[in-house]
Symmetry: C2
Subunit: 318 residues, 2 copies
């Protein structure tokens, strides 16, 4: 048996703060066109795809407002939805969400080729801080600008257009947390879409890991978690230099063996495509990673029972 979806990863180059929305939309539509021309029916865009990575600045409410989508779709992004439906292509995309009640999330949705929003995810593992770092030119203020996602890690059944794929989403930093992948895999997840904006270096000039090491980390976690959860993973970067702050690339499509079957070569707008056979998940799900046969949750209690580290001696009876 095989259940093949042709999937495109639509890596985006940098989006500057001064760029107009319409320009960014044009770039995304061009990527969509290119993916459709290559036969893809699912196109995965990065985290916060419609804007620059604005949590790098301390902004006031007026400055912040234009970065958030008040609904999805909305007139600003409608051209992407329209073009996708014309092409008969679905997509997943990350965006800053503001609810009618004023709550703000770092979110992503997946949209089927007929334009239906199949599912939404709100980022759980927000990195960075609430308070700005004094004197720093660049910040990482995700914990200030977004609330923690409260939807958990839902898995969506894609329906016949995508081979009844069991599909999950993560956003950026989430992908480094094995708990997130496992929670999805415990719902049968076969395909994971994850967009990211990951720093290539410390933009404030501090001592820093190299861009090469950071790209290795990004791919390592996608590869290993795809293998350990017997799923496909499509990990998609926003890459390059945004207003003086660098982002890694390393966009890749990973099979359930943890092997990269397609990867980008640039830090710019770039489409890669792979035929992803969901039935390749069955080997892992039925043997090595047959959860029902091999997991031992009675020994995992710390994972849900504590948040931070508890050193051995701290538990010793007095």
């Amino acid at each position: 048996m095989s259940r093949i979806i042709r999937i495109a990863a639509a890596q985006m180059g940098p989006t500057q703060r001064a760029d107009h929305r319409a320009h960014t939309l044009e770039r995304m539509i061009r990527l969509l066109d290119e993916a459709a021309a290559q036969g893809a029916t699912l196109v995965v865009f990065p985290e916060l795809a419609f804007t620059t990575f604005f949590p790098r600045w301390l902004l006031d409410d007026n400055e912040l407002q234009p970065y958030y989508e008040p609904s999805m779709p909305n007139p600003d992004v409608q051209p992407l939805f329209d073009r996708a439906r014309e092409l008969g292509v679905g997509f997943s995309v990350g965006y800053a969400e503001r609810t009618p009640e004023g709550q703000r999330y770092n979110s992503s949705i997946v949209v089927t080729p007929d334009g239906t929003i199949l599912g939404k995810y709100r980022k759980v593992h927000l990195p960075g801080s609430v308070e700005p770092r004094a004197g720093a030119q660049y910040q990482q203020l995700e914990k200030r600008y977004f609330e923690y996602g409260e939807l958990g890690f839902p898995v969506f059944r894609a329906g016949p257009v995508w081979q009844d794929a069991l599909l999950g989403m993560l956003i950026c930093n989430d992908r480094r947390w094995p708990e997130a992948w496992r929670t999805l895999a415990l719902q049968g997840m076969e395909l994971l879409c994850v967009g990211y904006n990951s720093a290539a270096y410390d933009p404030n000039g501090g001592e820093s890991e190299s861009a090469e090491l950071r790209t290795f980390h990004a791919q390592l976690v996608a590869q290993a978690n795809a293998y350990m959860n017997a799923c496909w993973a499509v990990a998609v970067a926003k890459a390059g230099d945004e207003d003086g702050s660098g982002l890694i690339g390393g966009t890749c499509i990973v099979d359930p063996n943890g092997l990269i079957v397609a990867g980008t070569r640039t830090l710019a707008d770039e489409v890669i495509v792979a035929d992803c056979d969901l039935d390749l998940c069955q080997q892992g799900k039925s043997k090595m990673f047959n959860f029902a046969a091999h997991r031992r949750p009675e020994h995992y209690r710390r994972i849900t029972g504590q948040t931070g580290v508890i050193l051995p001696e701290d538990e010793s009876p007095a």
Copy 2:
């Protein structure tokens, strides 16, 4: 600051069923000597290091008995303990354990340079089956020959001889389960010792993943889990052809960035050594993987709340 331990991984080539214990002990002592000559103070041996991988055969109680250690140490293994103490070298080693009450475990211990047993671990993730596969020449009967470890995933504080390392152990298949690593890391684990006997191919001649892919998987999980848990990992194979059944090599020492800093080149007895600075764990533990700041256990409940997969629709209200 730096807290450096020189660690040796003592890969072992195959041990045939007909090999005498004394011969195997001599090989292990030779590896210990070589590691000590290179300045190592901790030597990591593989899983079931004193014997062949006997769960590949259906054996009766009389045949099984000699494979288990009735106590540790015992006269059969005492020469290893004696030599280690002479050399001022500690070690970890995997063995088949039989308790005075007759319970059987796939276990490992870590022994300090003064000969004290610092800690014991009993394998939690037993692969294979209880019942033999009809007609198969080779079995995988770990679930028949061992009980599931009931000690959980303990972390041991090594004391000044090993820089107060927080040390954990896993055995073989355990290393593919991120829950096991995370449970250790939630106790501050800085160093993970894991021995393995992993098949290089299907010994019964079925369609099979290549030895290269299996070695990639073994290293991928060591690298990614070391990175995601900000710890060192020493993953040590018993390798080569045991009575017609092949085992992968791929022994490696991995740093908290997930990089392999030393690896074996053979499928035979081979020592590799690395200087492991435990303080390199601090970067990850205090920033990217600062669990107290970034974990969200309220969303991880499936990890302890269910064993196998529950598909999304199975939970839908009727």
